[in-house]
């Protein structure tokens, strides 16, 4: 009898639990879930993420937004793993340069389909790097052109051309007390430094085909050779760059600028907060990365976007983005990470009218991003190695870039 009672009790408990789970499931099914892989940019706080999530969920009781904080360095792995596992998020911050790979996997959707017209119209046209074949495949979230920062205690000249920069560097350079220019010679993650000089010489990494696709690699063009020869001259002949530059990547090199030992560096929007955090004994000043004589100014711009992954809750994801891109939230986000706003309305706010933002805004007008090709990560590595082979004296700039272009064309089947 006791055993019968025990069995009955267990059955009742199990039935109750199943009933509750079913009821909970019904309730959850009524709500649409939006999972958002959120990149942990420098300056963003957990409070901001939590308050954005809470505010959205309170304003939209029918949607359950889950903003998942992710280390930026792990984002790519997390994203590809979740896609491979068949459970991508509805939204994720991505490097815009990943977009083609994601499109090849056929996992991303056109974001404009799910956004309100006012949100789309408020995006600065220059920030729409993710517009591919007329379709906006990623909403810009952070876009920053690279600029020239200088230490006013060591120099007051803002060079107008690369040639002038070299002249000033030769005057300012007084190692080991003062180095004229930062030039990272060790691979960090991307090819940024070569791109500064290459774009300044008017170069393009690939020939653009009439249909808008990327053709053969043109890194070995006269512009490429000019840029690499100039870099090598600054480093090996003039010796105006920091000591041991080939052993220092970007993260090792920039702190030298913050200590006040270096006159010039090409850098991004984070310079002001990074210098402040490092306790720099000076207030950096800013100018544009100069072009070579006779060329137009064309700095590198790096953009990150928010991609929308194919699934069922994309209307809700669009509602979330409309909410996030209001000045109340997006301007706060831009201010925290130090990048210039990508929305037109936020760009007019008083906090974005400082000298740094002015320079960044001007730079963005003529800036050029990375080539949007699937194999860019590997191509970038090939070009970086070519650059180093020249610095090591193994090859001439022409030979190194010819080999790099051939390797890239072979890789891309061109």
């Amino acid at each position: 009898m006791k055993r019968l009672k025990l069995v009955l009790s267990i059955l009742i408990v199990l039935l109750l639990a199943a009933g509750l789970a079913f009821a909970g499931g019904q309730k959850a099914a009524e709500k649409q879930t939006v999972t958002f892989f959120w990149a942990e940019y420098d300056g963003l706080t957990e409070d901001y993420r939590a308050s954005l999530q809470d505010a959205f969920n309170a304003a939209h009781p029918d949607i359950d937004a889950d903003i998942v904080s992710t280390d930026w360095d792990l984002m790519y792995d997390k994203l590809t793993t979740s896609i491979a596992g068949g459970k991508p998020p509805e939204l994720s911050v991505i490097g815009t340069r990943w977009l083609l790979e994601l499109m090849t996997m056929d996992v991303v959707d056109e974001v404009t389909q799910y956004l309100s017209k006012s949100t789309v119209d408020n995006i600065a046209p220059g920030a729409m790097e993710a517009k591919l074949k007329g379709k906006l495949m990623g909403l810009p979230v952070a876009a920053g052109a690279r600029i020239l920062a200088y230490n006013p205690n060591l120099t007051t000249t803002v060079p107008k051309t690369m040639e002038e920069l070299r002249e000033v560097c030769l005057k300012v350079n007084n190692p080991p007390k003062v180095y004229a220019l930062i030039m990272p010679g060790k691979l960090h993650t991307e090819l940024t430094d070569f791109a500064y000089y290459f774009y300044a010489a008017g170069g393009n990494f690939f020939k653009m085909e009439p249909d808008g696709s990327y053709g053969k690699c043109t890194v070995n063009s006269p512009e490429g050779v000019k840029a690499l020869s100039f870099m090598n001259k600054l480093a090996q002949e003039d010796k105006v760059v920091q000591e041991g530059y080939l052993g220092l990547d970007r993260m090792d090199s920039h702190p030298l600028f913050y200590t006040g030992k270096v006159a010039y560096t090409f850098i991004g929007a984070w310079v002001e907060s990074a210098a402040k955090n490092a306790g720099a004994p000076f207030q950096p000043k800013y100018g544009q990365i100069p072009p070579f004589a006779g060329q137009k100014q064309k700095p590198l711009i790096i953009t990150d976007s928010i991609a929308m992954f194919k699934g069922t809750n994309l209307e809700a994801a669009g509602t979330f983005l409309d909410f996030f891109y209001k000045d109340e939230w997006k301007a706060k986000f831009d201010e925290a990470i130090g990048f210039p706003p990508v929305t037109i309305s936020a760009g007019k706010l008083p906090q974005f009218q400082t000298p740094l933002y002015k320079i960044l805004g001007e730079a963005a007008l003529n800036a050029q991003g990375w080539p949007l090709i699937e194999e860019w990560a590997e191509c970038s590595n090939i070009i970086f190695n070519a650059q180093i082979e020249v610095h090591l004296g193994k090859k001439t700039p022409q030979k190194a870039l010819d080999d790099a272009a051939a390797a890239i064309d072979k890789l891309r089947g061109k």
């Binding site: 590809t80 996997m105 010679g185 530059y245 080939l246 052993g247 082979e389």
Partner: protein, 302 residues
């Protein structure tokens, strides 16, 4: 015949055998799931074209292998991996032996010395590698500063900036991390050798070298074999040290198979190429293990 089959069945399926199978089952399941499945999957992947999600999309036969092996860089990297492993293991064995001999001598503070020697091995490899990255820093690094102030080298090289110094710098860190393991394993072997042998040898007027070559070394021969085999496997696959110090640079000069596998798979999403390299690594290390085990068991039988 029938009796034989019954006897075999009885042997394989008696109550004792069933208990053994039951106890072995979890280990077999774990091995099949976490070891054999990935190995077989990677092997299969090497014969397929893969997409960016590492899924196999088309069978290509040996094309991945021929494409990889026709690339001169593949052979350079494979050769460098072998050179890296040989130099590192030989040096670790030599230094490990010397340190073990020093630690085996009775003196005050021997216990503290043993504790201190284990620190590099006990520390996490990424932490040790990052520490050495600071040591090698060309401007603020301890190494170049020491070389300059002591006058040993007034214009020291940029250790991680040039091919040969970078290779030496990376291999030294791997050696520095690996020596304590070798030393401790050798020391354990030395302590198992009977003191009587040394005392008898001393009475016979045998000198230190003769004791080492005729008592110590034969006494720890098996341990040396096992330790160097393990060291070869770990060193060949030492990803952390190289990746943290140089990321395979400058211009690929410190790339070994394991770092290139990582780049192919997780930076460039070329899983098929990575699978070919992983398979080659598997073959090399399996071959090495077979040679070692043959030598080991041959000596055991003797």
């Amino acid at each position: 015949m029938a009796d034989a089959s019954i006897s075999l069945k009885q042997k394989l399926w008696n109550s004792e055998a069933r208990l053994a199978y039951l106890l072995l089952l979890p280990a077999v399941v774990v091995l099949l799931t976490f070891m054999f499945y990935p190995i077989v999957y990677v092997l299969l992947m090497a014969f397929y074209k893969t997409n960016k999600l590492s899924r196999m999309v088309a069978f290509v036969g040996l094309r991945n292998f021929t494409s990889e092996m026709s690339d001169p860089e593949f052979w350079v990297i494979t050769g460098r991996s072998m050179l890296w492993t040989t130099l590192a293991v030989v040096t670790k064995t030599l230094f490990g032996m010397i340190i073990a001999l020093i630690l085996n001598v009775r003196y005050t503070g021997r216990k503290i010395a043993r504790m201190l020697f284990i620190i590099p091995w006990a520390s996490a490899v990424p932490i040790s590698s990052m520490l050495w990255r600071w040591v090698y820093h060309p401007v603020y690094g301890l190494l170049n500063h020491t070389l300059k102030v002591t006058g040993l080298w007034s214009t020291p090289t940029t250790w991680l900036g040039y091919p040969i110094p970078a290779f030496i710098a990376c291999i030294w860190v791997d050696i520095w991390i690996g020596i304590p393991f070798m030393a401790l394993v050798f020391l354990a072997g030395m302590q198992a050798i009977s003191e009587d042998l040394y005392e008898s040898a001393s009475l016979d007027g045998v000198n230190w070298w003769q004791k080492f070559f005729f008592i110590t070394l034969p006494g720890i021969r098996h341990i040396v074999l096992i330790a160097t085999l393990l060291s070869c496997l770990w060193t060949f696959n030492d990803f952390n040290t190289i990746y943290i110090l140089t990321m395979g640079g400058p211009a690929g000069a410190t790339d070994i198979l394991i770092t290139r596998i990582y780049q192919n798979a997780f930076k460039w999403l070329r899983f098929d190429r990575a699978a070919v390299m992983a398979f080659v690594t598997f073959l090399i290390l399996t071959g090495l293990s077979i040679i070692y085990s043959r030598v080991y068991f041959k000596e055991e039988r003797l």
